[in-house]
């Protein structure tokens, strides 16, 4: 049969839709029966691929990350990683590649079922002993990025936001953007002070320069990486005023064109030594916008130059503000709502405390009740309305709990008094403890008073003592 043979010849790597079309044509010519049609299945081509960077060690919150990987730290009752995954899932993504520290793959993949998410997680372990940067992590999983997607969503595991990722994706496509970064106004934590010793707030913020109307990114300087003067590139195309902002939070959610990401991560690229995506590769891509195009470009650009050479009817779309087709344009999506990066103790503390009011906004559709049905709260216990109580948590009688977060499987013994505090999973509070404004990640086995403390090691607690503004953690053993 001639039709069959020609079909099999063309099967080598052709697009399914095209194949079907050809097949239909052949069928018309040869009046073949319908049975062949059923065997061709068309699947929608995914346009975006998501990468969650969750291998970060949490350098700015070492007191908490000593015992648990950062991406699994609980925010209220859920692990941090659930938030970006949920964000992706809400946008209709079915799959996400999660870069995790080697050894944590199993725990990470459990997050999905634990939190009732439906997104498929493909965890990619990366060896953290060499302290890889975000760019190194991306290089590590570059082979996992499918050749047929247009854009890659890169999101950090510590992002808590109420943005609709779909809106950001729409913005990205509508502007023909090469790279879109999610930004939001930087807001100071509402709940202060955070427990632990007083620390100076982290001051040097990023500088983002955008065209005030379009939101086009002109310059990105990562925190404090500037001298006495900041030199803006000359933007000849427009007279729009430039907004030089130090009060914008770079949310670490980027939508990048696959081609440009691959270019930047390739071995021979100028970025091959760059370790951080945000601090190095992002400024590099943004600055490339204003550099003259180099001729020796990839195959895509060759094609485009042919198009522009031979097809005079090609009209620039409004996305193309500059003359060249292959030009890079970067935009900042300015989100006005909640957007927090949980990467320091104050932000971690703040988000935990606010989670009671935020949970509907940041996890819409995910039914995680503020008071889990399996929690057993004694009727004589006083638990304030704005407290979060996780699954299997046991609150005994004569306890007083105000504005607290109790994660799952905690146990609060009688006569304990908790206020404005956050308890991690499996924490037991022995009777008579008084805990105020503290972060408790280990069981309090002795009666004590805690004020503004972080507890990660229960052996440091002594009977009847009062602790203030301290971090009670396991002392590292120097042998």
């Amino acid at each position: 049969m001639p039709a069959q043979s020609s079909l099999s010849e063309e099967c080598g790597g052709e697009n399914a839709a095209l194949l079907l079309l050809k097949f239909l044509k052949i069928r018309q010519e040869h009046k073949m029966c319908n049975c062949y049609i059923a065997s061709v299945e068309i699947k929608m081509r995914p346009e975006v691929q998501a990468v969650v960077l969750a291998a970060g060690p949490g350098m700015r919150m070492t007191a908490l990350t000593a015992t648990s990987p950062k991406c699994l730290l609980p925010l209220a009752t859920l692990p941090m990683l659930a938030f970006p995954l949920h964000l992706l899932q809400q946008a209709g993504l079915e799959e996400a590649t999660v870069v995790v520290a080697a050894g944590e793959e199993v725990r990470v993949s459990k997050v999905v079922e634990q939190c009732g998410l439906t997104i498929n997680v493909d965890s990619a372990p990366v060896n953290t002993s060499t302290d890889p940067g975000t760019a190194d992590s991306l290089r590590h999983i570059l082979h996992k990025i499918k050749r047929n997607v247009d854009d890659v969503v890169i999101v950090s595991s510590d992002l808590v936001t109420d943005v609709k990722l779909q809106d950001v994706l729409d913005f990205h496509r509508a502007h023909g953007s090469t790279l879109t970064a999610l930004t939001a106004p930087l807001t100071p934590p509402q709940h202060q002070p955070a427990p632990g010793p007083k620390t100076k707030p982290f001051t040097s913020s990023d500088v983002m320069v955008t065209e005030s109307e379009s939101g086009r990114l002109v310059l990105v300087v990562a925190g404090g990486d500037y001298d006495h003067t900041l030199t803006l590139p000359s933007v000849r195309s427009s007279k729009a005023p430039l907004l030089v902002s130090t009060s914008l939070l770079d949310a670490h959610l980027y939508i990048v064109k696959r081609s440009i990401l691959e270019q930047c991560l390739a071995k021979e690229s100028a970025c091959q030594d760059m370790g951080s995506f945000k601090a190095e590769i992002l400024p590099y891509i943004v600055s490339r916008q204003f550099q003259p195009q180099n001729k020796e470009a990839g195959p895509d650009e060759d094609f485009e130059s042919l198009v522009s050479q031979y097809n005079t009817s090609v009209v620039m779309s409004r996305h193309h503000t500059s003359a060249s087709f292959s030009s890079i344009t970067c935009y900042a999506y300015k989100h006005q709502g909640l957007c927090v990066r949980v990467n320091t103790i104050p932000t971690y503390w703040d988000i935990n405390r606010r989670m009671y009011s935020l949970i509907d906004k940041v996890l819409p559709g995910l039914s995680e009740p503020r008071r889990h049905p399996s929690a057993q709260i004694h009727e004589k216990a006083q638990v304030s309305e704005d407290s979060v109580v996780g699954a299997g948590t046991l609150v005994s009688e004569k306890t007083n709990i105000t504005s607290c977060v109790l994660a799952s499987h905690c146990r609060v013994d009688p006569m304990a008094r908790l206020s404005n505090s956050v308890l991690a999973h499996h924490t037991a509070i022995t009777s008579g403890c008084v805990v105020e404004n503290s972060l408790v990640r280990a069981s309090l086995n002795h009666k004590c008073v805690l004020k503004n403390c972080i507890v990660t090691d229960s052996s440091r607690i002594q009977e009847g003592k009062t602790y203030m503004n301290e971090i009670l953690e396991a002392t590292p053993e120097f042998v």
Binding site: V207, L232, S234, R236, P241, L242, V244, S245, S247
Partner: protein
């Protein structure tokens, strides 16, 4: 909004101050006879645009501030005419005359001492054509002042795309001037407080922002090049600030002073960048042409050509299809010739059949169609007018072609004349076949022709100005007028060429600016360059130090054969270290190169081969510093002064000049001749030089007659700017 109403009642009078002595002038050929503010733009004096606009914006009292000179009465009369139409209900115009006002700062100090300014007032220049919503701007200013007592001034900028700059022949000076009217602004995004103000120096320069500004405001709004119409809403503090600080000359210096000493003075300045509305200053002739076109294109609506701004009656007939305006009494006679020459498709028949043509896009973006014809003007058939304005009672004979020509009243242009990008004053007569090239200014009363071609950028006046009462003492001294020359102005002609030295007028600002501004361009130093050369710098020591360093760099460069860029870099580094002005650098470099040739040769006697190798080696270095005609003169003066110190160079002078002129093309023959004729730098060595280069000069003179046209073209750039 309760407080706003209260303020409005409190300050019932809104004042405006119009400065008629604008910082930039049109040149003596025009302003000698007519003050700049009374120069008609589309047949309406510039001042009327400003007054009409202020009137419409509800300004109650206008102070027209001018200097005592021959034009004072003219301005007074004009203002009286303007107000007499309005009886007592309209705007009140007061002309304030001062004896010794040199700049904006002086005017402010004078007005302060006369205590004429009561409250917030609007400060503007008389050459501004604008339609901005002043009421809105003033209301915002007052509102801001209520909330922030330290705010003393609101500067108004227009953020408009300036790509519309029509690059036509006469507009070549545009880019150079354009940077003076735009500014780079950095403001606090939330309040609009001005944090940094810098004149835009070049088109594509990168903007650098001091990061310490982040302490003042976390979000900065940066305008890379906002157009500055020199418009400000000032509080009563501003004049007092000017009178406290005698060194404040211009608004720019006030801005700098207030921003730099914010902690000391406790004042701040805000700016409003307006997006809507029109505002443009007809500051230079190039800008004049641009504004004229924009007014004719009705961009300054409701100020349009057909309605008189003084009486508001409709004076012209307007044809929107071709953007032509004509007074009903203008006669357009019918003829049989000429129409065939008219550009196809864009003509419109007017009255008796004369064709006012619009050349649409004939020449890239330069083609425009706007034409205004005044009362009683007779236009013959076959006249081709594009983008031009013709005043009252003119006659334009058959075959006259005018492109972007600004023809005033009572002008008679005979057949076959061609006008291009020029200004023709009152009562001018152009005989048959006169060609006025681009950038020319033909002053009032001039007769030209028949059959002469005026080279580009020439300024012609009817009388030698030295015989007339002058109004700018300092100005006229630097103006040299040649005798009327029939070869230039024609057999029936009566005209004198005005050879303008670069005027001293616009240096007031620049001098102050230069103190902190290393980006000072050589072009702005011109005014005082000659003086600086003669007097030498006070600080002899650093001068010598600098000279020694440059000499050293040059010697090293010669032995190592360094690239010109590196040499320039080295010299500029030394320049910054010793804070030497551009012209001193040029002098030092020129002399240094010649000396390097001498030393390289080994002997004490300079020989031509040694000098020649040095010149060859550093020709690119020298070229880097020689940018315009003035710089060439500096080179010549430098050479002359070298002869004073070391006469042993004398024999080689002729060869040096010849090579700089012919081989390296750094010095233009024209410039050398000009320099030669006016007696060089006037040092003792000139007489000896004169004899030694006589042969070369003679050759040049012969040469220049042959090549006059080509050289004149090059020359025009600097003169028309």
């Amino acid at each position: 909004m309760a407080p706003k109403v209260e303020v409005h009642e409190e300050s019932s009078i809104l004042q405006a101050v119009i400065l008629t002595e604008c910082d930039i002038d049109y040149g003596t050929a025009i302003t000698h006879y007519n003050p700049k503010v009374l120069v008609p733009l589309a047949n309406t004096p510039l001042l009327d645009y400003t007054l009409a606009w202020l009137e419409r914006c509800g300004v109650d009292e206008v102070i027209v501030y001018c200097r005592t000179n021959t034009h004072t009465d003219k301005i007074k009369q004009h203002c009286k005419r303007f107000t007499s139409r309005r009886e007592d209900c309209g705007i009140k115009v007061m002309v304030v005359v001062s004896e010794d006002c040199l700049n904006l700062g002086d005017a402010m100090r004078d007005l302060y001492s006369k205590s004429l300014l009561k409250d917030d007032f609007i400060l503007l220049q008389g050459d501004l054509v604008a339609t901005l919503d002043l009421q809105d701007i003033v209301a915002k200013h007052k509102e801001n002042r209520l909330s922030d007592k330290s705010m003393i001034m609101t500067c108004v900028y227009v953020n408009k795309p300036t790509e519309t700059t029509t690059t036509t022949a006469a507009m070549e000076g545009e880019e150079e001037r354009g940077k003076e009217v735009t500014a780079t602004l950095v403001t606090a995004a939330d309040t609009g407080k001005l944090l940094l103000h810098r004149r835009t120096r070049s088109k594509s320069s990168k903007i650098s922002i001091p990061t310490e500004l982040f302490q003042a405001s976390s979000d900065l709004l940066t305008y890379p090049a906002a157009y500055d119409p020199s418009l400000a809403i000032c509080s009563e503090v501003v004049p007092s600030l000017f009178s406290d600080n005698f060194d404040y000359g211009s608004r720019d210096s006030l801005l700098r002073g207030v921003i730099e000493q914010e902690e000391l003075l406790g004042y701040s300045i805000r700016c409003q960048v307006v997006q809507d509305g029109y505002a443009c200053r007809a500051s230079t002739l190039q800008q004049y042409q641009r504004v004229s076109g924009e007014v004719m294109r009705r961009e300054a609506y409701p100020m349009v050509c057909e309605s008189s701004l003084t009486s508001h009656r409709i004076r012209y007939t307007y044809d929107p299809f071709t953007t032509t305006y004509w007074e009903p009494s203008a006669k357009f006679t019918k003829g049989n010739g000429g129409t065939s020459e008219v550009v196809v498709g864009a003509g419109t028949e007017v009255d008796a059949g004369v064709i006012l043509t619009c050349k649409l896009f004939q020449r890239g973006n330069g083609g425009t169609s706007e034409v205004v014809v005044g009362a009683g003007t007779e236009v013959d058939a076959g006249v081709l007018l594009t983008a031009s304005v013709v005043g009252d009672h003119c006659t334009l004979s058959d075959g006259v072609r005018a492109n972007a020509a600004f023809i005033m009243n009572n002008v008679h242009i005979k057949s076959g004349c061609k006008l291009d990008h020029c200004y023709i004053g009152d009562d001018v007569v152009l005989e048959e076949g006169v060609v006025v090239s681009s950038g020319c200014v033909v002053g009032p009363g001039v007769r030209l022709g028949p059959h002469v071609t005026i080279p580009p950028g020439t300024q012609l006046v009817s009388r030698p100005p030295s015989s007339t009462p002058d109004h700018h003492d300092d100005f006229d001294e630097t103006t040299r007028v040649k005798e009327a020359d029939p070869s230039i102005c024609g057999v029936k002609g009566k005209a004198f060429i005005l050879l303008p030295e670069e005027t001293n007028q616009d240096d007031d600002d620049d001098d102050e600016e230069s103190s902190d501004d290393d980006g000072r361009s050589s072009g702005q130093d011109d005014g005082d360059s000659e003086d600086a050369l003669m007097m030498m710098s006070d600080d002899e020591h650093s001068e010598n130090e600098f000279r020694r360093e440059v000499q050293e760099s040059l010697m090293n460069g010669m032995s190592k054969k360094s690239a010109a860029e590196n040499m320039v870099l080295e010299i500029n580094a030394s320049r910054h270290a010793y804070n030497v002005s551009m012209e001193d650098v040029l002098t030092t470099v020129t002399q240094g190169i010649l000396r390097a040739g001498q030393k390289q040769d080994g002997g004490t006697e300079p020989t031509w081969p040694g000098i020649n190798t040095a010149l060859k080696c550093f020709v690119d270095v020298l070229r880097n510093y020689v940018r315009k005609g003035r710089d060439q003169l500096l080179v010549l003066n430098a050479i002359e002064k070298l002869m004073v110190d070391s006469p042993e160079f004398l024999p080689a002078t002729q060869k040096i000049l010849f090579n700089l002129n012919q081989t390296f093309e750094i010095l233009e023959g024209e410039v050398i001749l000009h320099w030669y004729k006016k007696g060089g730098a006037g040092t003792t060595a000139f007489t000896t030089i004169k004899t030694s280069i006589a042969q070369f000069i003679e050759w040049l003179e012969k040469d220049s007659e042959d090549e006059e046209d080509s050289e004149d073209e090059e020359d025009s750039d600097e003169e028309c700017s």
